[in-house]
Every structure is written in structure tokens, then in C-alpha cells.
């Protein structure tokens, strides 16, 4: 059985600012990031749809210790956003100074910004042809 929405297609769309997900034709709920089976009911009867990319921050962290090759990024803010359609989506928050972020961030409305951050693969992901050169990062700004 083929995926209704592969990482390759999801990633390609997200790099252009378009957040794709799946709508379940059985339970009516949404799955994002994509999976072969519905996040909510396990059905495979789903169709690819565009999501609004808006929601609220449910949790976050500001990271100060980088993985190899990512020194230039720190500090950076990772957010988990509960999309209005229901799914949780991990992303980065870019329009605020990470050093000024605190717990008040939780509950704030955010939306995908106009410029999507990406990260090129590193030598561990050279075989990852489906990324087509870079991984899109859902990049949120305050709504």
C-alpha cells in the first residue's frame, strides 16, 4: 500500500510554505506529520489536504547545547504547536529572542511564517534522497 502523503511530498510542500497533512475519511480527524495510518483511529482511508498552519504553543524549550554541526544555531527555540485541526507539530519559533522566552509562551497563538527554515542534511543523512537536499522546519511566528 502506498502512502497518501510521503515525507518527500510533505517536505517539498513545506519548503514552499504549504503545510500538508491527512484527513481521515472514516473518523474525520487529521494526521500531521503524515503516517500510513490515521493518528486517531488507525484507518488507512485518508486523503492529503492542506492545513492552516495555525495553532497554540503547548510546550517549548530553548536549546543551548548543539548537536555536532549545529553550533551556529544555538540558542534556538523549539516549540510544540497544537494545530487548530488537532495534531501536534514540532517547529521553531523565530520572531522572538530565545533568551527572552519563558513559560508565558505556552498557550500563545502562533502561525507558520512566510519564510520556512530548512536544515541541510549532514554526512549521516547523505543516503536520505527523499529530503532532496534539505529538511523543512515548521517555522512559527506569533499570530
Amino acid at each position: 500500500m502506498e502512502y497518501k502523503l510521503t515525507f518527500k511530498d510533505y517536505n517539498k510542500a513545506l519548503k514552499k510554505g504549504k503545510l500538508m497533512g491527512l484527513k481521515c475519511n472514516d473518523c474525520g480527524k487529521y494526521t500531521c506529520p503524515p503516517k500510513i495510518a490515521c493518528q486517531e483511529c488507525g484507518s488507512t482511508n485518508m486523503e492529503a489536504v492542506q492545513l492552516d498552519g495555525a495553532g497554540k504553543v503547548v510546550t517549548f524549550t530553548v536549546s543551548y547545547v548543539p548537536a555536532e554541526g549545529r553550533d551556529a544555531e544555538v540558542p534556538y527555540t523549539v516549540v510544540m504547536v497544537e494545530l487548530d485541526e488537532g495534531p501536534w507539530l514540532m517547529g521553531n519559533l523565530t520572531d522572538t529572542d530565545p533568551n527572552k522566552v519563558n513559560v508565558d509562551l505556552m498557550g500563545k497563538r502562533v502561525q507558520l511564517g512566510s519564510r520556512m527554515k530548512t536544515i541541510p542534511g549532514d554526512h549521516y543523512t547523505e543516503g536520505d534522497k527523499e529530503a532532496e537536499g534539505s529538511f523543512a522546519r515548521p517555522t512559527f511566528v506569533f499570530a
Binding site: 506529520p33 536549546s63 501536534w88 521553531n92
Partner: protein, 391 residues
């Protein structure tokens, strides 16, 4: 199914960058377990090895085969288990099942890792390979980041102010060091204070340095045998009477339960039910305290505290020596160290030593009958085991 006993154990010191190979570390522990069991390397029928990152730290894949050959257990079936930080527990659980089924009578199970050798940037990168590589690592997620996000979520979900939670988290680390200082195998043998924890540099907000376990090198291993064989080998068998294993998806896919790790609740229920006991029966528990908040979250799902109240176990001494359940008397991952492929075996070995009354007096719990291990790999590979004193 047959009953399965741990007959002998071995444990190397857990250290910063080791000057031994993973084969050497594993086999020092394995040979100690063999000698302690009164058997020889020729008696071993199969080997189960937890190892996560040997490919990166030493350029060594398929280590299990070289371990078996080096050990003199020539040509035996040897299998490697990769479940991130839970790898050794998966190895022991599988070894248990093969012996319980009657397929083998005597096997070796354990794990080894040399992650401190890699240094922090490479170790952070390779550990993060246990996140979802396509959908969550690109955002800069690391393991401290994962648990940092659970900590913030915890404050929201249970209405615990961050300052209060941070203080409870600090007490978790303080207790770990309080016992690690007496563990001859521990990487950190020094006590720390709540103030030390709260003054450490920020790793991933709100987790500071002493909220985090170190990168570590080391190994632990044990001989498992069927009950009839075990009775000939030792008068102090430790039986594995319950096992559980479960999995969860990436963090975003855990939205309905986070900060709880649902896989833990599934896994530990399997282990409790199989053993026919519950959390109130556990005397000692070695749980997966890779980060201070992880201990609080784990203690709740294991049934030791209500959800949102796990921190009170440390505040009130209920999980201290002499409390209702003694948690991480080894010093835990925080103080003893966390060579990820070995951790589940190390937890098991420490409980065996506790049951035999063989640990240092400062951390010895009296009359240990039931022990529980809890090991978490990545975003959600969970394994739990109930150990029962056999004498």
C-alpha cells in the same frame, strides 16, 4: 513457560572516556558473571547484547559476534539489540523468553556502550538519531530538549509552578548523587546540593547541567539459566518473574498522554501482571532517570505516585532508603552514569546485588524481596522487569 533465574552478574566501572574497547568492556563483565555462576564459557548457548552506537564510537557494527568469539563462547548464537537507552533491557527480556521457552538453558545477556569516548557534540548528534530523523530532529530536538519540553508540559498539565518543579527536580539529582557517592562502579562519586543544581548552566530550558545524566562508558552482563539449572549453580537465584515491553511514537504523536509516556504504563502493567504483584510490593526500583524530570514522570507511571505528584516522593523521602520504595540506590543514570547500551543490565545487576546484601552499607536496603527495573529508550521504547529473590 519455565522459571528463569539470574545466576551470576558482572559490572565494569562506569567512566568518562574509557581506554578499553566495547568488546573488552562487555567481556570483562560477562566473564565475571560466568565465573560467579560457576560455569565456563563453553556452557554458554547464546549471547544477547545491547549496544547502540558502536558503529559511531568505534566503527564497530555487529559487535555481538566478536564478543562471543572473544569470550570463548565459540560459534554460539549471538544477537545485538538496539533500542536506544533500553537496549540491554530488551536483550535481557529476549534472553529470558528464549530460556523460559525451553529453547536454551544457559545464556549471557547484557550490554555495553562507549559514548563518552565520542565527546559531547558527536554523542549529542548520535543520541539524537533516536528521535524522528525526518519530522523532529531537523527542528534541533535533542534528548535534553525532549525532556525539557516534557517538564514545561508537566507544569501546565498538573498546575505545578516551574519554580516548585525545578526544586523537586533538583532533589531528584541530589538523592542520586547521595547514593552514587557510595557506589564503587559510579562515574560521579561526589555529593551535590539543590543549590548546585539550580546554579548549573542551562542545557535546554528548564534543564540545567545537573538535571542531566552524563555520557558514559561501561558494560554489565549476567548469566541467565532455567530454574533446574540455576538450582545446581547457586543457592541465591534471582528470578525474573515479570517482563514488559512497549513502544511509543515521536513526541508529537504522544499528544494524548504527554508528559506521560504511555508505553511505560503498558509495559509495566505487563510486568506487574505477569509477576502477580503491584507497585506497593516493590522494595527497590531502578528507574530511568536520564534527566531529573524523567524520574518524576517515570515514578508516576510505575504506580508509585499520583500523576502530578511524583516530585513529592523525593520531597518527603518516600523514595529514599527506608521509604516506601527505594528508588535508584545505585545513584541512577545521573550519578552512576549512563552507557546507554548497558544501562538496563546495570539496573538489573544492582538489584541482584541489593537482594544478596552485597552493596555498600550506605546504600543497602534491608530485606529486598522484589525489585523493578524501568528503562526508556528514545522517544518511547519501554522495558520493565520484575525481579524476585529466590531464597
Amino acid at each position: 513457560m519455565r522459571k528463569v533465574a539470574i545466576c551470576g552478574v558482572g559490572h565494569t566501572p562506569f567512566t568518562f572516556a574509557a581506554e578499553k574497547s566495547s568488546v573488552e568492556l562487555f567481556n570483562e563483565a560477562a566473564m565475571d558473571a560466568i565465573v560467579e555462576s560457576g560455569i565456563t564459557n563453553k556452557d554458554i548457548q547464546a549471547i544477547y547484547v545491547g549496544n547502540v552506537l558502536g558503529d559511531f564510537s568505534e566503527g564497530q557494527a555487529m559487535i555481538q559476534s566478536y564478543i562471543a568469539d572473544d569470550l570463548g563462547a565459540t560459534n554460539v548464537a549471538a544477537t545485538r539489540f538496539e533500542g536506544a537507552c533500553a537496549s540491554a533491557s530488551l536483550a535481557i527480556r529476549d534472553a529470558f523468553m528464549w530460556v523460559a521457552s525451553g529453547f536454551y538453558d544457559i545464556v549471557i545477556a547484557g550490554g555495553v556502550e562507549t559514548s563518552a569516548k565520542m565527546g559531547t557534540p558527536l554523542a549529542t548528534r548520535t543520541f539524537a538519531m533516536a528521535h524522528d530523523a525526518h519530522y523532529e530532529y531537523p527542528m534541533g530536538l535533542t534528548f535534553p530538549g525532549f525532556f525539557a519540553m516534557l517538564a514545561h508540559l508537566y507544569t501546565q498539565k498538573y498546575g505545578v509552578p516551574l519554580d516548585k518543579l525545578k526544586e523537586q527536580m533538583a532533589m531528584v539529582s541530589v538523592q542520586s548523587h547521595k547514593y552514587g557517592v557510595h557506589n564503587k562502579y559510579a562515574q560521579f562519586q561526589k555529593e551535590i546540593t539543590v543549590n548546585d543544581v539550580l546554579k548549573g548552566f542551562m542545557v535546554c530550558s528548564p534543564l540545567q547541567l545537573y538535571d542531566c545524566c552524563p555520557f558514559s562508558d561501561g558494560a554489565a552482563a549476567m548469566v541467565l539459566a532455567s530454574e533446574d539449572v540455576a538450582k545446581k549453580l547457586t543457592d541465591r537465584p534471582v528470578y525474573i518473574t515479570g517482563v514488559g515491553q512497549a513502544s511509543s511514537g515521536k513526541l508529537s504523536a504522544q499528544k494524548d498522554y504527554a508528559p506521560r509516556i504511555r508505553a511505560r504504563e503498558v509495559s509495566v502493567k505487563q510486568a506487574y501482571d505477569m509477576a502477580g504483584i503491584g507497585p506497593d510490593d516493590i522494595d527497590v526500583c531502578e528507574l530511568h532517570d536520564c534527566f531529573s524530570i524523567a524520574s518524576i514522570i517515570a515514578a508516576e507511571s510505575l504506580g508509585f505516585a499520583e500523576f502530578g505528584k511524583g516530585g513529592e516522593l523525593w520531597e518527603t523521602g518516600q523514595c529514599d532508603k527506608g521509604g516506601k520504595v527505594a528508588i535508584n540506590m545505585s545513584g541512577g543514570l545521573k550519578s552512576k552514569g549512563h552507557p546507554i547500551g548497558a544501562t538496563g543490565a546495570s539496573q538489573t545487576v544492582d538489584i541482584v546485588h541489593q537482594m544478596r546484601g552485597e552493596v555498600e552499607p550506605e546504600r543497602q536496603v534491608e530485606d529486598v524481596k522484589y525489585g523493578l527495573t524501568d528503562t526508556l529508550g528514545g522517544d518511547g521504547v519501554l522495558c520493565n522487569m520484575v525481579l524476585q529473590r529466590g531464597w
